[in-house]
Amino acid sequence: MTERRFEGIGVTPLSGVGTVVWYAPDAELDDPPEPDEVDADAETARFEEARESAREELKAERERTAERVGEDEAAVFDAHVQFLDDPQITDGVSEQISDGLPAEHAVQRTFDRFVEQFEGMEGRMAERADDLRDVRDRLVRVLSGGERVNLAELAEGSVVFAERLTPSDTAQLDPERVAGFVTVTGGRTSHAAIFARSLALPAVVGVGEELNEVEDGAEVVVDGTDGEVIVDPAEETKQAAADEEEVEIRSEPVSTADGVEIEVAGNVGTAADLGPAADRGADGIGLFRTEFLFLDRQSPPDEEEQYETYLEALEAFPDGRVVVRTLDVGGDKPIDYLDLPDEENPFLGERGIRRSLGPDADLFETQLRALLRAAGSDSGGNLAVMLPLVSTVEEVRDARETLDSVAEDLESEGAEYAVPEFGVMVETPAAAFMAPDLASEVEFFSIGTNDLAQYVMAAERGNEHVAELGDYTQPAVLRAVRATVEAAEGTDVWVGMCGEMAGDPDLTELLLGLGLDELSMSAVTVPQVKQAVTETDTEDARKLAEKALSAGTKAEVRRVLTENTQS
């Protein structure tokens, strides 16, 4: 049998093999009976009963989702309850019942009218149509006593195929039994995608109508890395996917084959990411972005709120280092209370440390106060503070001066505090060139490869026309990384890397060869990178890095890497 491949959007870098189970929740109703055969009072009572059962179900699913995925996702169920109680719905259903329809038909017709109305609209309102369908199907199912494919009791190794998966659907999925899922519709930010990432399930979304050709019961590989669905896969395709799937989660720190311990940490963008990072086996947090604390609000968070958040991060990783990056914003971020300038080129403008030493000096001071107090708490010994977008030695000295004066203030107030490890992000060519001088100012470097590649190559991130140029395997980027590591050699300064590059398991050996001590990435690839670390021999890695550093083109770098994997 030949393989059939379908392209979609991969939403987690995971692969799975399993058996297709089509999930079609739309209930087909029989034709309604004659109106004079319908007892309107009895139907109204049935509708009321169904509403109560649906409300109970929603409550239970809300709780389960809050626990497994997070409060934001769980809030969807509140909206569902509101649709259940919506006067337009209840009035509509009553009207249809008094016109002689049984409750299930009345529900279907009433909801369908609104589904159509919302489907015709754009963006967020079109998403509401999904919620309405979801509530409609729930009520119709309860009313007709029908069973749908029970997502909670799928056979192990099922790959769920669906037109779309609603929050109610995913709330029932038992991640232990599901090998992955594939949907016809949906994008990277669809509910199904968010769900897949938080539970680390292989998933491909937005495949399109062609997916309907795939039969129930077919064998399938879900390749979330390449966004591919492979039906009737060849043995080697399955093997490749299974190899990837078998990566175990190691919650202990790992060492290379020759015994060098390497810290593998997680990048965290909100407090809700802490749990998944720990679940995937991250040793600590290599990049705690603090922007989320400042976005979507009318005034900056106060010292206490920040202190609590930093404490939460420290407590989530009692044995691991937590590297907190100070506020990194610029003209591309909408924060009303900061009065961010409208700049011609915000990525080269007043952002990161430049603002912290300029217009946002007060905020910087408050943030440092919260951080120093967190460092002085019982679990604060592993805290590290990192400055974003450093390009000069003076910036580091000025920031250190602020830190010292904050420490003095706390001292004179008699507050509990400690001075945390202090470091810089290396993400500008200037910082890479000046690394030897910066090394005597700080305790660590963390190379931010996304921005470093953008600035070294003068190729905007996000601009697909220059994506090839801005790739982190460009020789110029590798050399900037090496220059940074080299500057720290022979000193006490440790060098980490945060950014996409650090999370690419195909590059782990190269990065260790370049001399990095720590790698920090999105939680989902932590197990793959830990696995790659254990398979690396540092001497071989060093030789690989040497070859890669002498390559003059990106193609040559890629060839060096491919030859290495094959040998």
Binding site: A75, V76, D78, A79, Q82, F83, D86, P87, Q88, I89, F114, Q117, F118, M121, R124, M125, R128, L132, D296, R297, Q298, P334
Partner: protein
């Protein structure tokens, strides 16, 4: 009938959580509460469907009106919801 024009602060506008809280609040009062565009037709503020169907984005102005014994209280509460950023709701 008392009414007010209020700027919608939550970035998402009257969708998702802000809409939920808005509808919930409208349901807490006996007065008949309505909402709509500044110069257009008003809809039932106690209906999630009607409210989200308006398609109001953050930063837009809406008109809210209330009729009943607790009309002023209802308007105060709804204005409060509309003026609160999403993450503080």
């Amino acid at each position: 009938m008392p009414e007010r024009v209020v700027t919608v602060v939550p970035e998402d506008g009257l969708h998702a959580r802000p809409a939920s809280v808005f509808v919930e609040t409208a349901n807490e009062y006996d007065s008949e509460v309505k909402v709509g565009p500044e110069d257009g037709d008003l809809v039932n503020a106690a209906s999630m469907l009607s409210v989200t169907g308006l398609g109001v984005s953050g930063g837009e102005k809406v008109r809210i009106s209330a009729e009943g014994d607790d009309a002023e209280e209802a308007l105060d509460a709804l204005e409060e919801v509309l003026s609160t950023p999403e993450d503080e709701l």
